[in-house]
Symmetry: C2
């Protein structure tokens, strides 16, 4: 089922916090994008790039291993990753191994370890707490019971990927009313090459752009009606393939 996960807390070290409005979109087929914009900007570097992190991947970029009831190991190899793109120092490279534990409340706890100074140096454990939102709702409605979850599982799930050979990499995932996108210019490696999208379809059918970041953001597909897997669309000169549609 398509999922729209909201992060409730993030912890490295002894004190948890949540400075972002982080949503992770997961399509029916398991493609994913995690968009983590900061709420308040405290430093010059945060003003220059107002995101904690953004990454995205195809379902081939994540490995799921069930461990026990309610516990799943998920090992990620991000396809698109702002840390890697910007070549930020002291950030992790390569596979990230994580364990996801379902709580009675419906939240899901993610525990993992990153190696910002390379795999030969000590790792840094982290904890993230997530809760599924109803992707068919404009507001942030917590999913809490099997009935509403069953309804939400029928949500729309559409994925666009930039066709190769155009000088861009990009992914847009639509889950229910919510769309998130990552578009980067190849070989730029600065914030100028990064573009992000977060929109929500309002009750009247119009779409509100909550995040439309970057000079190429107009190239994101922003209408999602009538697409079938195998189709494609050109948006302001950029060709996107529809790699999933339910």
């Amino acid at each position: 089922m398509p999922q729209l996960l909201k992060r409730l807390a993030f912890q490295v070290g002894s004190v948890p916090n949540e400075r972002t409005t982080t949503f992770t979109s997961i399509s029916n087929d398991g493609h994913y994008i995690s968009l983590r914009p900061l709420v308040n900007l405290n430093t010059t570097s945060e003003e220059e790039f107002p995101f904690e992190w953004v990454f995205a991947g195809l379902n081939s970029d994540v490995k799921l291993v069930p461990i026990s009831e309610g516990v799943v190991e998920q090992d990620f190899n991000f396809w698109l990753d702002t840390n890697r793109y910007l070549n930020l120092p002291n950030t992790h490279r390569g596979e990230v191994q994580t364990t996801w534990t379902q709580w009675d409340s419906g939240s899901v706890a993610e525990n993992g370890e990153v190696f910002p100074n390379g795999s030969a140096s000590p790792g840094v454990p982290f904890f993230e707490l997530w809760h599924p939102l109803d992707p068919n709702r404009v507001e942030q409605v917590l999913l809490n019971d099997p009935l509403t979850t069953a309804e939400a599982s029928k949500a729309r799930s559409i994925v666009f990927r930039v066709r190769s050979g155009q000088g861009y990499d990009g992914l847009v995932i639509v889950t229910g009313r919510w769309a998130q996108g990552f578009l980067s210019k190849e070989n730029d490696a600065t914030v100028d090459g990064l573009n992000f999208l977060r929109t929500v379809e309002l009750e009247d059918g119009s779409r509100e752009a909550i995040i439309l970041y970057g000079s190429d953001a107009e190239k994101f597909p922003q209408e999602y009606l009538g697409y079938e897997a195998g189709g494609h669309v050109e948006v302001h000169g950029l060709e996107w393939d529809v790699i999933e549609s339910n």
Copy 2:
């Protein structure tokens, strides 16, 4: 403003979790009730009493001290407290000192320490993470921005208290569509003397009882129209005073 806080996480020791559907109702005038029903019951004692804890107090039972921007100290002396009522061993008695820290995400982190073995023994630090819900909504809608918060601040806030001399102690707090209540029989000190209420007013105006616990639960007021502070109502033989109404 009236508040309906949902607990997102609870931590004692090194691992957080959330096994309950905990809501804390806070009235306009600062009266409060926190109802913490377990989602799944794992032990015989949980089946006998399916709550982690329930407590309630008047605004005179909590002391608020602003510490810095976004940080408030809150020291509680619960009026009604299931731990004390049941005389549970290894549970705290007396004032609980807590510090509440506002996060950028809109969540609020509560840190405190309890002394389950008395004030002469070492304390046990705890952490609870809360997020305000829109009390005017049937679903669990997270409040996230000043606009929706301003709207939610106009929610209904009504408080009923059992009139003294009837052999009962009790408080019902209505915030928006949500009502929570605590009613205990004096001098019983067993689970048989405890009653709890959680209802939500549906879109059609009817009320759904999510929790209606205890043999005296029919004595809770369950209709909330037309009450003014200073008024009263008799429900199945029990007199309640309206001590707040906006």
